[in-house]
C-alpha cells in the first residue's frame, strides 16, 4: 500500500515537489491521528454517558492527565515538522539560489490577463529597465540604449520555454495588479506584485507542457488567465532559441 497516496495529490514534477508532498503527508498523518483518536473517544463518550445510561453526572469528571500528554505530543510533532522540514526547505527555496549561469533565468511580468516572459539572451544579462521609459509603446520600460538588452528575447505572450535538467530562476513582477503564478505539478505558487521583483527557483523533472494558472483574484478575467510553461530537452531548447534570436537587433519577439 502506498502510504503517500491516500490524499490523491497530483503528481509532482519538480525537484522540490516530493518534499512539499512529504510535508503535506506528515501533517495530514498528524491530523488524521488526532482526528481519529478524538472522534473515537468522542463517540464512545457520547454513547456511554448518554442520559439514559448515566442519569447522574459526576461532579469531578475525568481524573486522568492524558490530555496534557496529548497536548505536549501535538506541540512536539508540530515543532519537529517546523524545524525539521518547513524552515530548512523554505530556506533552500529562497536563500540558496543556484548560480545564474547554471540556470535558465526568466523574467515573468504578469498583466491583466496575460503572462510576459523575457530571456537575457546569449550574454546572460538583461537589458536595463526603468520606470522612466514606461510608455504605451514600451510597457516594460526597456532601456533601448542599453547594449545588454540587444540580444534579449521576448517570448510570445503566455508562453515560456525552458530546458530540462537545469534549475529555473524566475523573477516575478506585475504591471498592474497582483497576480499569482501557479503551476500545480511544480508545487509552485508565487505572487506577482507590482513594484517588486521576486525571485524564485525550481527545477522541472519531466518534459511536457504545463498549465500556468493565476491564483490571485486580478479582475473579471482572472479565471481566464492562463499560460503554458514548456519544458523541453536541452537540444530542442537550443534549436528553438537559436532560431528565434536570429533576427537580432533590439529586443526581439519571436511571434
Amino acid at each position: 500500500m502506498n502510504l503517500f497516496g491516500f490524499l490523491g495529490l497530483p503528481v509532482s514534477m519538480s525537484v522540490h515537489g516530493p518534499q512539499v508532498d512529504k510535508l503535506v503527508y506528515y501533517v495530514h498523518y498528524l491530523m488524521f491521528a488526532l482526528f481519529a483518536g478524538w472522534l473515537a473517544y468522542f463517540l464512545y463518550t457520547v454513547f456511554k454517558f448518554r442520559k439514559s445510561a448515566n442519569p447522574k453526572a459526576c461532579y469531578t469528571g475525568a481524573k486522568s492527565h492524558a490530555s496534557s500528554y496529548i497536548e505536549l505530543a501535538v506541540a512536539s510533532i508540530e515543532i519537529a515538522l517546523l524545524v525539521g522540514f518547513a524552515v530548512p526547505l523554505w530556506g533552500g527555496l529562497v536563500d540558496k539560489f543556484p548560480a545564474e549561469k547554471d540556470a535558465t533565468v526568466l523574467r515573468i511580468t504578469a498583466e491583466q490577463f496575460a503572462w510576459n516572459t523575457r530571456y537575457s539572451g546569449k550574454d546572460g544579462i538583461f537589458g536595463k529597465q526603468d520606470v522612466k521609459f514606461l510608455s504605451t509603446s514600451n510597457p516594460l520600460g526597456l532601456d533601448n540604449s542599453d547594449p545588454a538588452g540587444k540580444d534579449d528575447i521576448t517570448a510570445p505572450l503566455n508562453e515560456m520555454i525552458v530546458p530540462l535538467g537545469k534549475p529555473v530562476i524566475t523573477y516575478f513582477t506585475s504591471k498592474d495588479v497582483i497576480h499569482s503564478f501557479k503551476v500545480v505539478p511544480f508545487r509552485i505558487t508565487q505572487d506577482c506584485i507590482p513594484g517588486l521583483s521576486i525571485p524564485l527557483w525550481f527545477e522541472p523533472t519531466k518534459v511536457g507542457d504545463y498549465l500556468i494558472n493565476c491564483a490571485q483574484l486580478c479582475g473579471n478575467s482572472h479565471y481566464f488567465m492562463k499560460g503554458v510553461f514548456k519544458v523541453v530537452t536541452p537540444e530542442d531548447y537550443e534549436k528553438y532559441m537559436a532560431e528565434k534570436s536570429k533576427s537580432g537587433g533590439g529586443a526581439v519577439s519571436f511571434e
Binding site: 523554505w90 498549465l211 479565471y223
Partner: protein, 608 residues
C-alpha cells in the same frame, strides 16, 4: 430579589418603568435586550442574504455560462447588463463573491455572535442592569444598520458592488472602476466604528458592572469569550480603519498609498504619483483579519461551553485552562497575521517567525477543544437540539482547525495557497463551526427572550439535514483544493480543466470539475433545509410551547434567574453571587444544579 418569579411577572414588570412609545421601545431603544434582538434579526437576515448570493454563484460554478433558472430573469431586471440573459457575468460573480465574504463576516456572524448574543446575554449573566453605555449601544446598532444599508445599496450603483474580494487587495481594489468598491470602504468604516463602540461597551460592562460576588473566576465562560473578543475588536479594527481611510484616499483623491511607482493599467502609464506599497494594505488588512477569525469563533466557543455544561449536568473540567487558553489565543492572534502572506516574497527569518507563532496559536485551540471533550466524561448527556448542534460544532471545528495546520507551513502553502483547500478549511470553522454554535445559541436562549420554546422536532430535522449537507458542500472542496483548483473562479475552474486543456500537465481533473455540481446541489439543499428553521423561528414567537418556568433548562447562570423575558433593568436588586458558573451535580446538594446566586447549597434550587 433572588430567583422566584412566576411566569406572568414580566407582564407587570414591563410597566415598572415609565410608559414608552413604540419608537423608543422597539426601534430607538437603549435596552440591551432590545438591541440584542435587533442585532439578532438583522444579522440573521444578512446571513440569509449572504447565503443567497452564494446560492446564485454556485449555479455559475456548476453550470458555467448558462442562465440561472428562476432567479436569472430577476437578476437581469434588478441589475441589468451584469446579468444579461439571466447569465451571471464575471463582474457580477466577483461582486457576489466579495459581498458574500463581507456580508457573512462583518454583517452576519460578527453582529450575531458578538453583538446579538453578547448584548442579550452578557449583562444578564454578570448580573448587570444594562450595558454601561446604553446610548452608545444604540448608536452602535444604528451604525451597523447604516453600514449594512450602504453595502446593500452598493449593488445598485453604477458598476455594481465591490469586486475585489473581501480582502480588497490593492492595486486591484483601487483601480476597479465600480462605485461599489468605494462605497464598500464607506460601509466598512461605518461597521468598524459600530464594532468599536460595541467593544468599548462590552469591556466596560464586564469590568464595571459585575454583580457583587461575581469575581473574575466566577464568570461564565461565555462572558470571558466575549471579553477577549471585544479586546480583539478594540485593538485590531483601528488599523483596518486606517487602511480603509487610506484606500479611500487612493480611490477618491488619487493618492498612491498602496500603488507603487510605474503602474501600467490597461496599457497606459497610470496617472498617479506612485511610491506606495501594495503589501502595506495586506499587512494592515490581515492585522485585523486574522484576529477577526477568532472574533468569529470565540463567541461560538463561549456559547458551546454554556450549552455543554447545561446538558451534561456537570462543571467544566479545567475552567482555568480554558480561560488561560482564551487569553493566549487573544494575545497571539495579533502576531500571526502574515501567514496569509507567505507567497508575497518573504524571506526565511520573517516567515519562520510567523510559522512559529501560527503553530503556537494552534496549541491553545487544541487545549480548548480538549477541555470540552474531557468535560464530556462522566456527564449525563441530554440530546436536545442545542446540544446536537453543540456536539457537532466540536467535531466540525476540529476538522476546520486541523486543516489550518498544513496551511500554517509556508512550504505546504506553496501548493495550497489560495486553493479550495483554504476555502474548505475556513468554511469548516465558520459554517458548520460558528453557524452551528449560533443555531445552538438561538435554541438555548430563545425561551429566555420570548418565553416560548422552539420546536425540538423541527430543530432536530434542521440539525441532521444541515449536518449532512454542510459536509456534502465543504468536504469535496478539500479534494478540489488538493487537485489544484484555485478559488474565485468564475467558471468553477472549467477553463483550467483537463477537458479544456488537452495535453497540458497540471490541468484540473474532471472529478474536480464534477464535484462542483455535487457541491452546488448540496448548497441548494442546505438552503432548502433552512426553511424548517426559519419557520420554526418565526412561528414559535407566537405559537411555540410556553416555558413552564423562568429557568426551563435548569441552568445555573444568572440570566435564568430573572423573569422571562427580563424586564427593563433586568434585576430588581443586584443579585449576589456565591459560587462558580457551572455548579451542576454538586455532591450532597439538594438538586442537580445550584444557581450562582444561591447562598445555601442545601436549599433546593428553585425551578422558577
Amino acid at each position: 430579589m433572588q430567583h422566584s418569579h412566576d411566569t406572568h411577572s414580566h407582564s407587570h414588570d414591563a410597566h415598572h418603568h415609565e410608559e414608552m412609545g413604540f419608537w423608543s421601545k422597539y426601534v430607538f431603544s437603549t435596552d440591551h435586550k432590545v438591541i440584542g434582538i435587533q442585532y439578532g434579526i438583522t444579522s440573521l437576515l444578512f446571513l440569509l442574504f449572504g447565503f443567497g448570493l452564494m446560492g446564485l454563484m454556485r449555479w455559475q460554478m456548476a453550470y458555467p455560462g448558462t442562465p440561472i433558472p428562476v432567479f436569472g430573469p430577476i437578476l437581469e431586471k434588478l441589475l441589468g447588463s451584469a446579468a444579461a440573459g439571466g447569465v451571471m457575468s464575471a463582474d457580477l460573480y466577483n461582486s457576489f463573491g466579495a459581498m458574500h465574504g463581507t456580508i457573512m463576516v462583518f454583517l452576519g456572524v460578527v453582529p450575531l455572535a458578538f453583538a446579538a448574543f453578547g448584548n442579550y446575554v452578557v449583562p444578564l449573566q454578570i448580573g448587570a442592569p444594562d450595558m454601561t453605555f446604553p446610548r452608545l449601544n444604540m448608536a452602535s446598532y444604528w451604525l451597523y444598520f447604516l453600514g449594512g444599508i450602504v453595502m446593500l445599496i452598493s449593488f445598485f450603483l453604477p458598476g455594481g458592488a465591490a469586486q475585489g474580494g473581501w480582502t480588497s487587495y490593492s492595486p486591484l481594489a483601487t483601480i476597479i472602476p465600480t462605485q461599489g468598491q468605494t462605497w464598500w470602504l464607506v460601509g466598512m468604516v461605518l461597521l468598524i466604528n459600530s464594532s468599536l463602540l460595541g467593544a468599548v461597551n462590552f469591556l466596560a460592562t464586564i469590568i464595571q458592572l459585575r454583580a457583587p460576588g461575581m469575581t473574575w473566576m466566577r464568570l461564565p465562560f461565555f462572558v470571558w469569550a466575549q471579553f477577549v473578543t471585544a479586546f480583539l475588536l478594540l485593538l485590531a479594527f483601528p488599523p483596518l480603519e486606517a487602511a480603509g481611510v487610506m484606500q479611500l484616499m487612493d480611490k477618491v483623491f488619487g493618492c498612491s498609498f498602496f500603488l507603487p511607482t510605474g503602474l501600467m493599467i490597461s496599457g497606459k502609464v497610470a496617472d498617479v504619483s506612485g511610491g506606495g506599497s501594495p503589501l502595506l494594505w495586506q499587512h494592515l488588512f490581515w492585522f485585523l483579519a486574522h484576529p477577526e477569525v477568532y472574533v468569529l469563533i470565540l463567541p461560538g466557543m463561549g456559547i458551546v461551553s454554556e450549552i455543554l455544561c447545561n446538558n451534561i449536568r456537570k462543571p467544566i473540567w479545567g475552567y482555568k485552562s480554558l480561560v488561560y487558553s482564551l487569553f493566549a489565543i487573544g494575545f497571539l492572534s495579533f502576531i500571526v497575521w502574515a501567514h496569509h502572506m507567505y507567497m508575497t516574497g518573504m524571506g526565511t527569518a520573517i516567515s519562520t517567525f510567523f510559522q512559529t507563532t501560527t503553530l503556537i496559536i494552534s496549541i491553545p485551540s487544541v487545549i480548548i477543544l480538549t477541555v470540552f471533550f474531557i468535560t464530556l466524561w462522566g456527564g449525563s448527556i441530554r440530546f436536545n437540539t442545542q446540544m446536537l448542534f453543540t456536539l457537532a460544532f466540536l467535531v466540525m471545528f476540529g476538522i476546520g482547525g486541523l486543516t489550518g495546520l498544513p496551511l500554517g507551513f509556508n512550504f505546504v502553502d506553496l501548493f495550497l495557497h489560495d486553493s479550495y483547500y483554504v476555502i474548505a478549511h475556513f468554511h469548516y470553522v465558520v459554517a458548520p463551526g460558528t453557524i452551528f454554535a449560533l443555531f445552538a445559541g438561538v435554541h438555548y436562549w430563545y425561551p429566555k427572550a420570548t418565553g416560548r420554546y422552539m420546536c425540538d422536532f423541527w430543530g432536530r430535522v434542521h440539525f441532521w439535514c444541515s449536518l449532512v449537507f454542510m459536509n456534502i458542500v465543504f468536504f469535496p472542496m478539500f479534494t478540489q483544493g488538493i487537485a489544484g483548483m484555485s478559488r474565485r473562479m468564475y467558471d468553477g475552474g472549467a477553463n483550467y480543466s483537463a477537458a479544456a486543456n488537452k495535453g497540458l500537465l497540471g490541468a484540473l481533473p474532471d472529478s474536480a470539475i464534477y464535484s462542483n455540481v455535487i457541491i452546488s446541489i448540496g448548497a441548494w439543499m442546505l438552503m432548502l433545509v433552512q426553511i424548517p428553521f426559519i419557520i420554526n423561528f418565526v412561528w414559535s414567537i407566537w405559537k411555540g410551547r410556553k416555558v413552564e418556568s423562568d429557568n426551563p433548562w435548569e441552568a445555573t447562570t444568572l440570566e435564568w434567574q430573572t423573569p422571562t423575558p427580563p424586564p427593563h433593568g433586568n434585576f430588581a436588586v443586584a443579585p449576589t453571587v456565591h459560587r462558580g458558573p457551572y455548579e451542576y451535580s454538586v455532591p450532597g446538594a439538594a438538586s442537580d444544579f445550584i444557581p450562582q446566586n444561591q447562598a445555601d447549597t442545601k436549599a433546593k434550587a428553585s425551578k422558577s
